[in-house]
């Protein structure tokens, strides 16, 4: 559906996007990740035909951004970062204006605006000017703006930034609901958003693509080891030395030992070994009590940090 190939964009001396290539299949919800200033927004601006790349192309189906800019724009709904809106316009006026600008046939404009008001639950604030709305409602108006022409492709640049947790949930639900029939690129640096809503993710850093895959694949690829926490009641020294003997444990750290006889350890295990069974058996054999045995899997956060804090070697 969307093919980005070798896209490069410079602003003066800095290269904002450097030979980025990826594909998005129809119906996919792609998470586009990266720290602030990594080139996410620039890439989105290129796909939406706001900026022209210095090099490389973007294709939507058979259409090329250089030759078929207007046709491509018709297919895309774009929610820019920081939800820019005309503050002195009324909500309805604004939606009518975008509907006209998006070439919705005259007879369908009113029903379409009504649909948008319903989908984005704008009924309560319908009579206000956009400038008087709260951040959450502005976000909904902006979302209505990008959905109004029922585009095949949605490009959402940080749709939940600046919202409170309830609003974030609402917007995510909405994205999921709409996303069933559409191809979506969701640009964000909030990782749980990707884990909960996206089918695939790519990570960009310093203008370059550093990872591409489903969220599970990305986590899998992480070099980090799995970490376990265990809390055992027993003589501290013996417990520690016995645990250390287990082959499935790479390293062991005593976190705290309280006076009631419990001690808590942080255990690092090799990637493909799970020491929990061994630990349990050991405790049973020695008649120790276990009150905690938990595993902390490497998450998307870990791989994100790993890929985007390391300075890239050329």
């Amino acid at each position: 559906m969307i093919t980005v190939k070798d896209v490069t964009k410079r602003f003066g001396e800095t290269i904002a996007v450097n030979r980025v290539s990826f594909k998005v299949a129809p119906g996919e919800i792609l998470g586009f990740l990266g720290p602030n200033g990594a080139g996410k927004t620039t890439t989105m601006k290129i796909i939406t035909c706001y900026l022209e790349p210095d090099y490389g192309t973007v294709k939507i189906g058979d259409l090329n951004i250089r030759d078929n800019s207007l046709e491509i724009r018709r297919k895309i709904g774009y929610l820019p970062e920081n939800t820019p809106l005309y503050m002195d316009m009324g909500v309805v006026d604004y939606l009518l204006f975008t509907a006209e600008l998006r070439h919705i046939p005259k007879s369908k404009i009113i029903p379409r605006v009504r649909d948008m008001v319903e989908i984005c639950s704008l009924e309560r604030e319908i009579k206000k000017n956009i400038g008087e709305l709260s951040k959450g409602y502005r976000q909904r108006v902006a979302l209505a703006q990008c959905l109004i022409h029922d585009p095949d492709i949605l490009i959402l640049d940080e749709p939940t930034s600046g919202l409170d947790p309830n609003q974030i949930m609402e917007i995510r639900e909405l994205i999921k609901k709409i996303g069933k029939k559409k191809t979506i690129i969701l640009c964000t640096h909030i990782l749980p958003e990707v884990t909960t809503t996206c089918t695939r993710a790519i990570i960009i850093h310093n203008g370059r693509l550093v990872a591409d895959g489903t969220t599970e694949e990305l986590v899998e690829r992480s070099r980090g080891r799995t970490v376990y926490y265990v809390r055992i009641k027993g003589p501290k020294e013996i417990v520690q030395s016995k645990l250390q003997e287990l082959i499935s444990i790479e390293s062991l750290k005593l976190l705290d030992d309280s006076k009631d006889g419990y001690c808590r350890f942080e255990i690092q295990a090799p990637k493909d070994k799970d020491p929990s069974e061994d630990i349990f058996n050991l405790a049973v054999k020695n008649n120790w009590v276990i009150t905690e045995l938990s595993q902390e899997r490497a998450s998307l956060e870990d791989i994100f940090r790993e890929l985007t804090t390391s300075t890239l070697k050329e």
Partner: protein, 240 residues
């Protein structure tokens, strides 16, 4: 064309969404009418010569105030992103913004209609007033204002600060207004004088305001308008 009309409607209405339109109209009327009327009865001439010599100068300050917001605000607020990712050509948007402003300005010019009526009433009944210069003057104002408007719109596309856009617009308008002034032409090398006279916004206005509607003057204003709208499109293109 459809897109241009959509933009035109939106821009024209947005003047009235804020107090800007009302403040502008009131200020323009009060200032221009007062400056004209204070000497009207002393001169004892039932014509609008003062009006048509003052308004082009007042417009240098007032017209860029209409246009300063048009691109600068879009850039500052970021709304330019949603606008320019809509299926519209740059020139359609520029034309829409320009025409919206032109109609608004036409409204401002029309609101001075009391003046010609006053001259008509105060003129000696047996002499009446010379209609040619009045009609010509109004057409000239409209055309000249259009050129100012195109310049102001271009200035607004250069920068995302409204005040800076206003100052730049005013400076360009003033420059193009005064280069035809005999006072400045005096010091120029002889071969350049006709060129400067031709480029000057005020020279062509003087012709029309005399009641002489020459196709060359009209063409001049339209080419000025299209030149600056084209420059505006170039600026938008370099931003891409």
């Amino acid at each position: 064309m459809y897109n241009t009309i959509v933009m035109l409607k939106k821009e024209f209405r947005s003047y009235f969404n804020t107090p800007l339109a009302y403040v502008f109209l009131v200020a323009f009327l009060v200032i221009s009418q007062w400056l004209v009327m204070r000497g009207y009865f002393l001169r004892g001439q039932a014509d609008l010569r003062t009006f048509f010599s003052l308004v082009p100068v007042i417009f240098i300050l007032f017209i860029p105030a209409i246009t300063m917001r048009l691109w600068a605000e879009e850039q500052k607020q970021g709304t330019i992103e949603t606008l320019m990712t809509s299926p519209v050509r740059d020139m359609e948007v520029i034309l829409g913004k320009f025409l919206g402003g032109w109609i608004f300005m036409g409204l401002a010019i029309l609101s001075t209609i009391a003046l010609p009526l006053v001259t008509k009433w105060t003129a000696a009944p047996e002499v009446g007033i010379d209609k040619g210069p009045v009609i010509g003057g109004y057409i000239g104002l409209f055309l000249m204002g259009g050129a100012y408007l195109a310049i102001g719109l271009f200035a607004s596309s250069l920068i995302d600060s409204q005040i800076a856009a206003w100052i730049i617009g005013t400076c360009i308008c003033f420059f193009l207004f005064m280069i035809g002034d005999p006072f400045g032409l005096f010091s120029l090398p002889q071969p350049l004088v006709p060129l400067f006279q031709y480029l000057s916004l005020s020279r062509h206005f003087e012709n029309i305001a005399r009641g002489v509607l020459d196709i060359r003057d009209i063409l001049y204003y339209f080419s000025m308008i299209f030149f600056f709208l084209y420059l505006n499109a170039c600026i938008l293109k370099t931003r891409r």
